[in-house]
């Protein structure tokens, strides 16, 4: 008898344990899944827009496509949580952030400083770390979330996968997570950058499912360059090439494409596919002044050949390699010098390297970014050619004059 009593008591306890979670239960059908968030400046505080999934329309079924797959809610508030709280007067269910994919900041918010709006995102326990940030280049942040996406039915998901893909193969964008962003903000001697996003086409046409009915949609979202920050304030835009160079230096490039002119430029260009890239930053002290050496090594294949060159000769290959080396060197030099001069913001993390290697000298520097403006940076680009694809000569090799 005694034994059965114990079993019963234990069983009751186990059941009670499950009840504990019920206090915190979220029914999937009673949540508004937020996939995108846009932060704009309002007169007093922020104007927040959230893109919420409309679950009935996402799953393809008969009759679907009548209403839109996502709904955008907008609300103003002095702070983010206030705006989001007030938003419940518009949304049918509580907002749920664990599936957040994209956070879009307006340029105005970025220029005013992102530390304040970010605090809520890093403090909230529902937020995960797998969403990306982008800064709207030619529209408000909310407008970015108002544009439908082709193929992928949820626009924020489309932005997410678009960024992942271009990061994989093109390298002129940056998928920056909350952790990376806060790390860059917290690290002295390294400044953050965030990818830019541009609305291309007729803005007002995007806000309807009809935009998805065209083969060539009248409006699209395109990632374009990156925003440079000085501390938490945005100071300007990087071009596509500057972004790529920065990604080389910060070891973020997975694959990308580079072009260079033929020895005889009239014939056209050689396109190289960068398959591997590794950068190393070194710093030395010369007369007490730091001198940096940025060493970038690329491994590349020939992807496209327009020149009349005999590729079967080893010399030709070396010639292409030499041009490619020189070009990489020149690009690194001019791009980095440009960033030094125009922004005076160390987006490469050189200061962090100086701090690591020479902590005492680092301690004597008051304003690193000011020092960064005039610091000497040597670059060394080494590009190795590995493969030439599946064919040897250009296809018109025999018939060409």
């Amino acid at each position: 008898m005694q034994g059965w009593r114990k079993v019963g008591a234990l069983g009751a306890l186990l059941l009670a344990l499950l009840l504990c979670g019920c206090w915190n239960r979220h029914e999937l059908s009673e949540l508004s899944l937020v996939v995108g968030m846009a932060i704009d400046k309002a007169e007093d505080g922020y104007r927040i827009a959230v893109q919420v999934v409309n679950p009935g329309q996402v799953v393809a079924q008969k009759g679907a496509g009548v209403s839109s797959t996502v709904v955008l809610f907008e609300e103003e508030g002095k702070t983010l949580p206030e705006a989001l709280g007030r938003m419940t007067t518009r949304t049918p269910y509580p907002l749920y952030f664990a599936h957040l994919r994209m956070v879009i900041l307006s340029e105005e918010v970025a220029r005013a400083g992102i530390a304040k709006p970010l605090d809520y995102l890093s403090r909230n326990n529902e937020m995960r770390n797998d969403f990306y940030f982008a800064v709207a280049r030619n529209s408000t942040a909310a407008e970015v979330l108002k544009i439908t996406s082709p193929i992928e039915s949820i626009p924020a998901n489309s932005l997410y996968t678009k960024l992942e893909t271009s990061d994989q193969v093109w390298a002129a964008t940056g998928k920056i997570t909350l952790l990376e962003l806060t790390q860059d903000l917290a690290t002295e001697g390294r400044n953050p950058t965030l990818t830019g996003i541009r609305v291309v086409g007729n803005k007002s046409a995007g806000d309807s499912m009809s935009n998805r009915q065209y083969i060539d949609p009248p409006v699209e979202l395109v990632y374009d360059g990156m925003a440079v920050f000085h501390g938490d304030r945005m100071v300007g835009w990087l071009t596509e090439m500057d972004t790529k160079i920065m990604n080389y230096v910060r070891n973020r490039v997975k694959k990308t494409t580079a072009i260079q002119p033929c020895p005889n430029p009239e014939e056209g260009t050689v396109t190289l596919r960068v398959e591997r890239s590794h950068a190393n930053i070194d710093v030395k002290l010369t007369d007490g002044e730091p001198v940096f050496l940025i060493d970038v090594r690329l491994e590349q294949d020939i992807a496209d050949m327009e020149c009349a060159m005999d590729l079967s000769k080893l010399d030709t290959l070396y010639q292409v390699e030499k041009v490619s080396n020189e070009r990489l060197d020149a690009l690194l030099k001019s791009s980095i010098a440009g960033v030094q001069r125009r922004f005076g913001s160390d987006i490469y993390g050189l200061g962090k390297k100086l701090h690591s290697k020479f902590p005492r000298e680092w301690a004597s520097i008051d304003d690193w970014n000011e020092t960064f403006r005039n610091v000497r940076i040597d670059v060394r680009g080494t590009a190795i050619l590995r493969r030439i694809g599946t064919t040897l000569q250009p296809i018109d090799y025999r018939t060409r004059e």
Binding site: C20, W23, R128, T182, Q183, K353, P359
Partner: protein, 370 residues
């Protein structure tokens, strides 16, 4: 007294005891003091802990068949021994209450935000009571069953971390000199109150228990050092210092090709399990000591009433999260040192003196003081 406790079981309990609480919160305190040198501070803390274990073994080997509170009475005499024993019991009880508080605040901050903290704590205490009532052997066997799970899950969590390390996060070494590292090590040592294990030590088979104690502390310490290294390498010293639960943040950031991700549940599992054993050991020690002080043969009738007090005490001790932070960093280490170093040293010294005195007086009478 035969309890059926094995040396292996004792080692496992020591491992659990070392990991409990510390694995979740230690990296933050370490990084706050020593920044990128936090891992060195953890190493230093482990060394300090091992030194403490040396002291406890020296005492433990003199205790005969008695636990710590009984030994106090034997060494210091009836009144002084009773008072010191009561102080130890109070310390163990307070420690249990603080851990119940840690547990409640962690769960209500990170996962079960809407569940009242009291409910979580009460339910947890029910299981603690159950374990303590079943006795030492039962919960040691349970710990032995769960240890492979903890080790396995820990490896699942820590291996991906080491593929994403940023080694420059550890540079520059010794930037602010040795002082911050000493400070970090000092706070780290204060989180592992190994003295509680002296309540059990006397009931472990003599052969091999010394190395079991040392190995248990060492292995548990390795877990903590690896976690600290991981947090520094992936999250970075600045962010680690700014997290309430850095190890949880670390687990949140694990992502291998969208295949292995959202593993923070593992972290909760490891932490709740290890803190469970730590609470059980502390609370069992407290109830046992209390029973001895009041001449009860069995601590079991005391378990439930004392457990109810735990919840109340934990809520009184920890009014809010920031209080926990500043309490642990500022107050706890010096306070705990009283029980972890000062009183054990006093016990050892008095016991040695009494032995020497007894030898002088009457060669045949030696050893009566224990």
């Amino acid at each position: 007294m035969h309890t059926g406790l094995t040396v292996r079981g004792f080692t496992v309990l020591t491992i659990m005891f070392t990991i409990g609480t510390s694995i979740l919160i230690a990296p933050a305190g370490l990084a706050m003091d020593a920044a990128q040198d936090a891992w060195l501070a953890a190493l230093l803390g482990l060394a300090l802990n091992l030194a403490m274990v040396g002291l406890y073994i020296a005492i433990g080997e003199r205790m005969g068949e008695r636990h710590l509170v009984a030994y106090c009475a034997a060494v210091l005499g009836r009144w002084a021994g009773w008072a010191v024993g009561l102080a130890f019991v109070g310390f163990f009880y307070l420690l249990s209450a603080l851990m119940i508080g840690d547990l409640g605040y962690f769960l209500t901050t990170q996962t079960l935000t809407q569940t009242p903290i009291e409910v979580l704590q009460l339910l947890f205490i029910c299981f603690v009571c159950y374990a303590v009532k079943l006795g030492l052997r039962a919960y040691t066997n349970t710990a032995e069953i769960f240890l492979p799970w903890i080790v396995g899950l820990f490896l699942v969590m820590i291996f991906p971390v080491f593929s994403r390390m940023t080694l420059t996060n550890f540079e520059p070494v010794f930037e602010k000199g040795i002082l911050p590292i000493l400070q970090g090590g000092w706070h780290f040592y204060g989180l592992q109150e190994m003295v509680v294990l002296l309540m059990i030590y006397a009931f472990v088979p003599r052969h091999g228990r010394r190395s079991g104690f040392v190995w248990g502390t060492f292995i548990g310490g390795l877990f903590l050092i690896l976690t600290t290294l991981g947090a520094l390498a992936v999250v970075g010293p600045d962010i680690t210092a700014n997290q309430l639960f850095p190890a949880y943040t670390l687990a949140k950031n694990i992502n291998i090709g969208h295949f292995l991700e959202r593993v923070e549940g593992i972290m909760i599992f490891i932490w709740v399990l290890t803190i469970f054993f730590k609470i059980v050991i502390c609370f069992h020690g407290a109830s046992r000591g209390f029973a001895f002080l009041f001449g009860l043969h069995n601590e079991k009738p005391l378990v439930v009433p004392m457990a109810v007090g735990l919840v109340v005490l934990s809520l009184m001790c920890y009014p809010n999260t920031i209080y926990i932070q500043s309490f642990i960093t500022k107050v706890w280490t010096p306070f705990a040192t009283l029980f972890m170093v000062v009183l054990p040293l006093l016990l050892l010294a008095v016991s040695l003196l009494r032995n020497a005195a007894a030898k002088l007086r009457e060669p045949g009478d030696a050893g009566s003081a224990g």
